[in-house]
Symmetry: D2
Subunit: 422 residues, 4 copies
C-alpha cells in the first residue's frame, strides 16, 4: 500500500513548528465516528489513541451528540464563567448521584478552567494554601501539564527545559518499581521525611498518577498506592491523584485509584470528563480543604456549558450501572492475552508489556523500535502513539466503547506492525 | 420590583467556595441569545459583560450556530490535539486572508491550549527561549491569567497570594498614566535598562495589555504604546501584547494595538476568537521567533475543532469588511457621550470615565460605589461587573453586535443604577 | 619616573584569575603604617583607599597595635565562636557605653560572622523571619556583598551574573536623585505599596546605604532618608541601613544615618569596626526584633577575639569624645574646597564631585577618565580606586586619622593626576 | 564539685538571643594555650572541641604565635583585599611546595573571603558558571554554611527555615550508608541522571563532605567517594569537596579525600588553614575551571594577612614531613580502642561509635543522652559538643597536637561522663 503524502501547505507555512502529531500522521482528518477517524481522502483509521485519553466514549458518541445538538439548538447557555446555570446544575447533580455518592466520596467540585493543566495548577495552589508550605513531591516520569506550576512537577527533561526558568519547589521521588524492585517502597522518601537533617523541604503535597501514561505506561501497584496514602497521612502531606488521563473509566473503575481503596485529598479530572472531547476539567477535594476565597482561582472558560451537557449525558449513559466497567475489564483481559502472545513471539526483541483496564504499553529493548511500530501501524490504518522519556513505549489507549471486533482488529494490526519492524 | 432568590442547593453544597460570579448574580441561567441571558424563571438580563469579553458577537450568534450545528451533525472532528484537520485548515486560511494579510502581519500561528492563560504561558516560554533570559517586565494592574507563569506577571495581590509560592522573575513597571502624568513616559524603565548597576535583571520580554480590563479599564495612549515598542527594540526585549480581552474587535480594530501602529513580536488571543464562547486560544509571533521544537509546548485541548468552526464563521461574517469595526466606533462614541453626561451629573461623586471602542469604565471616589451600582443594575436586569484592584470601577463590555436600542437601554439602566446609589 | 613592574610569578601562576586590585597596583606590598603602604622595594604609597573603608584609623594604628600585641602575648582567647570571653565582654561594654548609650540607640548586638556580607545575610534573614514575607526592596546601584542573599540586593549586573542562578526576591527602587530630580521622592515606591494591583510583593524590608560607595559615591540627602524611614513605618516594612562602608565615622558621626536623625530597625556594621583591618562584623537591631533561636544563624569566625580587642581599643581611643568626628568634618570641608577648585579647572571635562565627611567621588563625562586618573595617581604614589557601575567615578576614602598635610599631599597628587590625564 | 555560674550581664542584656555555645558552657573564658582554655576564675578546660575544627594545632600555638607577633611588630600589611603582599606570596609558595606539589594537585588558589561559607558560595558560583546550569546536588545531613547559597545545600531543617525564603536549586541525595546498606550505592542518583524523564534538573555540581561533622560524624567510605567521583565524571558534574572542617589534617592526611585517592574539581578549605583560629578560607580548583573574571567574586577581608602568616608557619612546622599525620593516625587508633571499650560497657544504651583520624562520634539510642554527656563532661572540665540533626551524637574533635596524656585524660573524662549519665 502506498501512502500519498498530501501537501498541507497552510499548516507548514502558517502554523508554528511546535505542532507534533500531524508530523506522525501526515494526513488531514475530516470526520470521525466511534472508534474511527477519516481523512479527507476518505481513508479510515482505527483509533487506539483516543485523543490521548480524551475520547473514552469514542468520537462523536451518538448519545452525547444528541444531547449536545439539542442544547445548542435551544440556545442553552454556552459560556458562563462560574455563573449558575441549569446545565451546570444537571452536571453537578448527576456527578454527585452517579459518581460521588455511590463511592462514598465526599468531594467538593471545583471548575478550574477547562484543561488538565489548569486543574493541576488549582490543586497545587490549594495544597500550598492549606498547608502553608511551598514544596511538593512528584514522581519520576510524571506528566502533569505544560503551564509553569504543572511543568515543575513533570519529569520530562525536554519539556522542563521549555520553561526557560529553573523549575523549583518540586522534588522527584521514585515511582513504583523505578529501581527494579531492589529497594523497599518509600524507604528513601520516608527516611527523608523523618530526618530533620535530610535537606528535603517538608512537602505540602504529593502528586501522583496511578498509571503514568506519558511516562511510559508505568503501573503503580495498589499496595504501593496504599503505602503512599498512608505515608501522606502520617507525614502531614496532602495526596493529590492526577486522574486526568487515567480517570473516567480508563482502568475500569471511574477513578483509577478505586482499585487501591484509597481516598486522595485532591483529585484532578479532565480529558474524558466531558465525554465528547470538549474542554472541561474538575478539581475535587475533601470539604475541609475548601478554603478558597471567591475568585481566588478563576478562568474564562471554566463554565464551558456544552461540555457540562455532554458530561451529564455520558455519566447517565455509562455510569448508572457497571456495564462499561465490566466491559473494560473484559477488553483489558483480551488485550493482555494478545500482548502476552506478541511479546512471547518477540522474546528476542526483549519486548515487555504492562497495563491495566484499557491502557497498555509495549516496550522494546531497542528504543527506536516503538516509533517504527507506530509508523508501520499508521500505514496499516491504526493510530497508536509512543510514550516514555525516550519514546520507547507503544501506548494503547483505545476508546472504552470499541467493540470486541474492533479490539481484535486493532490488536491484529498492531501485531502485524511489530512483526514487520522486527 | 422584587428579586426572588432561588435556592441553588447543589451549588452551595457541592460546588467549591471559589465560585464568584454566581454570588453577584444569584439566579440560575438557562438560555441566552444575542445580548440577553434568561434565567430559569424566564427573566431576561441585558448583558453588558459578554462573558468577560468572550462573547463579542453575542450569545449563540445564529451565523456561528448554524455552522456549529452543521459541523456536529456531520461528525466533523471534535478533538484533534494538533493533528491536521479540515476545520483547522479552514480556520488558518480564513485567519490569514481575513486578519493577517490585510494588516500585513507576518505572524506564525500557534494553538497553545484553549485558554488565555495557556497562550500567555506559551508566549513567556517562547520569549525566554529566544532570548535565553528569565526576567520579564509586566505592568502595574496587569492581568494575564491564573496559572503560575501568567500569575507571576499579574498585579493583583489577592490573586498573587493564591500561588502559595513567591512569584518571581517578573518586575512591574508603571502602566501609562500610573503616576498621574507627573513622570515622563519610561523614564524609570529606561534608566534601569541603561544603567549597569540598576539591579534589574535584563528582561527577555515585556508583556502588556493595551487596555487593562481587569485592572480597571486603564487605557494606554497610542503614543505610549509606540514608546514602549521603541524601547523594546532599542533594549533587545521582545514585546508581547496580551490581546486576550481587548482583541477580536473590542476596541474597533481586530487587534487593539492596530491604532498605535505597532507590530508586537508576540500576541496572545483567546476569549472571543472562537466567537461562540467556546474555549480556544492563539499565540501569534513573528516567523523568526518560531524556534519551538515539535511538542515543546502542548495541551490536550489545543485542537478544539468546533471552536475552529465558529471562529472561521465569525471571521467570515464580521471581518471580511469594515462594518463591525465602524459600528463599534460609532457605538463607542454613543457610550462616551452617555458617560460624559452621567459623570457630569455626578460630579460631586468624583465620577470619572475612560475607555475606547466598546470597553469603558466608570470610577467613583467612593470605592464601594461600583459594587453598589452593579448590584442595583442587576436588580434592573442589567449585567455589569466591577474591575480594578479594589473593585472600584464599573466595567462596560457589551457584545459588539448589540443594537443601538440595546445600547441605549443598557446605558439608561446604568444611569438609573448610578442615580439610585448616590 | 619609571615604574618597575615586579614579576610576581606565584600570583600569576597559582592565584586565581579572580584577583583584581593587584592588577591596578602591580607591586608587592610589604608593610604599612598610618596613611602609607610600602612595597618591597621600599617605595611609599599614600593611601586614599584605606582598605575600601576598613582602615578608618590608618594602617597598624599604634594604639590598637599595642593592645593587640599585649593580648596575643598573654595568650588571650583567639577563636571562640560565640562563647563568652573577657575580650567580648570588654567590647560589648565599650560599644554600649561609647556608641549606643550616648546616641540613645537601644540595639541588641549580634556577631554574625566576620564579614559584611555575613551581616547582611543575617539582617535579611531576621527581617524575613520577623515579617513572614520574602520580598525585599533594594536600591539602584546598591552594593551589599557577594554571597547569594547579599548579591540579590546588589545592583551591579556583572556581579549579579556571577551568581549563576536568577537572583529573585528583591526589587530595585530609585536611590535618591536617581532620576535627576524629575520625580518626587518615593512617588513610584509608595504608589506600588498603596496599590493592591501593583504587582509588587509586599516587602519585609528595605535595605539601603546612606552613601553608595561601590555604586559611585551617591549621597542620599537627610530628607530623603527621613522620607524612607517614614515610608517604612507607614507601610510595615523594616528599614535596614547597611553601614558596612559608611559607618565607623566615615561621614563624621559614628553611624552615617545619625545626621538624618533616623533610627533604622536593623544596622549592619563591618569593615572598620575592628579598627585594625581584622575581620569582624555586627548586626544591630531593635530589641523587639530579637526573635532568633539560639544558633539559628552562626559562623565559625563570629568570635574573632583579637578583632574585639582592637575594636575596643579603637572605640576607647576615638569615640570617647567628639574629636575625630570634628576632625573628619573639617577634613571633609578641605576636600570639598579642593574638589570644587579641581572641577572648576576641568569644567570642560564635565567633572563633578559629591561626598560627605571623608568619602568623596569625582565623576567625569568621559567614563574612561576615572581609571586613567587612578593609574596616573598610582604612578605618583597615591592609591585611589574607581567606583560606579562602569568605574566612572574616582573615589576618595582616606584614613580618618590622616594629617592635614597628608590630606593636602593627596589632594595635590590627585589634582596632578587629573591634569595629566586631561 | 560545684560550678559557680557567673552572671554575664552584658551578654544577656546586649548580645542577641542567637548566641548558643555560651549557653552550654556558661563561663567567661579568658585565655587559652595548647589543648586548654581557662575561664576568668582560672579554671582549666581540656578542649576536645577545638573551635569546631579551627584549632587543629591547639590554642595560641607558640610557633605560630611567634611568627604572628613578629609580623605585627614590624608593621607587616594587615589588610590588603587582593593586593599582592609578601605575606601572601610566602603563603602561596609554601602552600604550593608543602601541600599541592607533593600530592600532585594542580589547583589554582582563590581567596574568597575569610570564612567557610564564603568559600562554598564561591565554589557554587564557579561550578554554575562553568557548567551553565543552576542545579546542585547535596547530601542528607550536609552542612555547608549559613549564607543563602551555602544554606541551600545544607540539610538541617531548623537552619534552613531561618532563610525565610524557599531554598531551591539543590536536591538532596543519600549520603553513604544513609539507608542502612539496604540500597546499592548511587542506585537512585544514577538512575535519576540517566533517565530523561526523572524530573531531576541536570546538576552543575555535587557538593560533599567526606565526613559530615555537623551532620553527626557520618563517615563516607573511600569506595563510596570513588564511586561518587566516577559518577560525576561520567555524568558531567563537577565534584566539590567541602573540606572546611575535615581538611588541614583532621583525618590524618592534609586533605580528607586523599585516602580515597580522588581529585575533586573544587575544594573548599577554611577553619584550621590559618592554624591560629584567624579567619581565612581558600577555594581550590583545577586550572581549567579558572574562568573567573577579575573581581567577579570579592570580599573585604579576603586578604587577612596575619592569617597568611600563621598559615605559612603552620604549614612549615607541621606539613614538611609526615610526623603530624602519623601522630594523628596513632592517636586515632587510641581513640577507637577507648570508644570500643566504652560502647561495649554501654551495650544496653545502644551506644555506637564512628570516626577516622581525630574526628569521632558516639551515638546513643536515647537521643537526649548526648547532651547530658556533654553537660557532665563540662562539669568535669572537658569541652565536647553534640552534633547530628537532633544533637544525638557526641562529637570528639581534639587538637591534633595534643599529647598522648591529654588524649587519655580526655577519654577518661568522657568515659566518666558517659557512666554518670547512664
Amino acid at each position: 500500500m502506498t501512502i500519498t503524502t498530501p501537501a498541507p501547505t497552510i499548516f507548514e507555512t502558517v502554523e508554528s513548528e511546535v505542532r507534533s502529531y500531524c508530523r506522525a500522521w501526515p494526513v488531514v482528518f475530516e470526520r470521525a465516528s466511534g472508534s474511527r477517524l477519516y481523512d479527507e481522502q476518505g481513508r479510515a483509521y482505527l483509533d487506539f489513541f483516543a485523543g490521548a485519553g480524551s475520547l473514552n466514549y469514542g468520537h462523536n458518541n451518538p448519545v452525547l451528540k444528541t444531547a449536545l445538538l439539542e442544547y445548542i439548538e435551544r440556545d442553552g447557555i454556552t459560556h458562563a464563567l462560574d455563573m449558575s446555570t441549569t446545565a451546570k446544575r444537571a452536571f453537578l447533580e448527576t456527578f454527585q448521584s452517579t459518581v460521588l455518592q455511590p463511592r462514598g466520596l465526599p468531594y467538593k467540585v471545583m471548575f478550574p478552567g477547562p484543561t488538565g493543566t489548569n486543574a493541576v495548577e488549582a490543586a497545587l495552589k490549594l495544597a500550598r494554601k492549606v498547608k502553608g508550605r511551598e514544596a511538593v513531591v512528584s514522581f519520576t516520569n510524571a506528566f502533569h501539564g505544560m503551564s509553569l506550576g504543572s511543568l515543575s512537577v513533570t519529569g520530562n527533561a525536554f519539556k522542563r527545559a521549555g520553561a526557560g526558568i529553573p523549575l523549583v519547589h518540586a522534588t522527584p521521588m521514585p515511582f513504583d518499581n523505578y529501581l527494579g524492585g531492589r529497594v523497599p517502597d518509600f524507604l528513601w522518601f520516608e527516611r527523608l521525611l523523618e530526618d530533620q537533617g535530610s535537606g528535603l523541604n517538608h512537602p505540602a503535597a504529593v502528586i501522583v498518577e496511578t498509571i503514568q501514561g506519558e511516562g511510559g505506561v508505568n503501573v503503580a501497584r495498589a499496595e504501593w498506592l496504599r503505602g503512599l496514602a498512608n505515608l501522606c497521612r502520617r507525614r502531614d502531606m496532602l495526596l493529590i491523584v492526577d486522574d486526568v488521563q487515567m480517570g473516567c473509566g480508563r482502568t475500569g473503575d471511574f477513578f483509577s485509584f478505586e482499585e487501591a481503596g484509597i481516598v486522595p485529598d485532591i483529585v484532578t479530572v479532565s480529558k474524558s470528563i466531558s465525554g465528547y472531547g470538549l474542554p472541561m476539567a474538575l478539581c475535587l477535594f475533601k470539604p475541609e480543604l475548601d478554603v478558597w476565597e471567591p475568585g481566588e482561582h478563576n478562568g474564562t472558560f471554566r463554565g464551558n456549558n456544552p461540555a457540562f451537557v455532554t458530561a451529564t449525558a455520558a455519566l447517565q449513559a455509562y455510569w448508572g450501572d457497571g456495564a462499561l466497567r465490566q466491559q473494560t475489564l473484559v477488553h483489558g483481559g483480551r488485550v493482555e492475552s494478545a500482548l502476552r502472545r506478541l511479546c512471547a513471539d518477540h522474546e528476542r526483541s526483549g519486548a515487555g508489556y504492562r497495563g491495566r483496564g484499557l491502557v497498555w504499553g509495549i516496550e522494546f529493548t531497542d528504543k527506536q523500535r516503538a516509533e517504527a511500530v507506530c509508523r508501520k501501524a499508521f500505514e496499516h490504518g491504526l493510530l497508536v502513539e509512543t510514550s516514555g522519556p525516550e519514546g520507547e513505549v507503544v501506548k494503547l489507549l483505545p476508546p472504552l466503547t470499541l467493540t470486541a471486533d474492533e479490539l481484535d482488529e486493532g490488536l491484529d494490526l498492531l501485531a502485524r506492525s511489530v512483526h514487520e519492524t522486527a
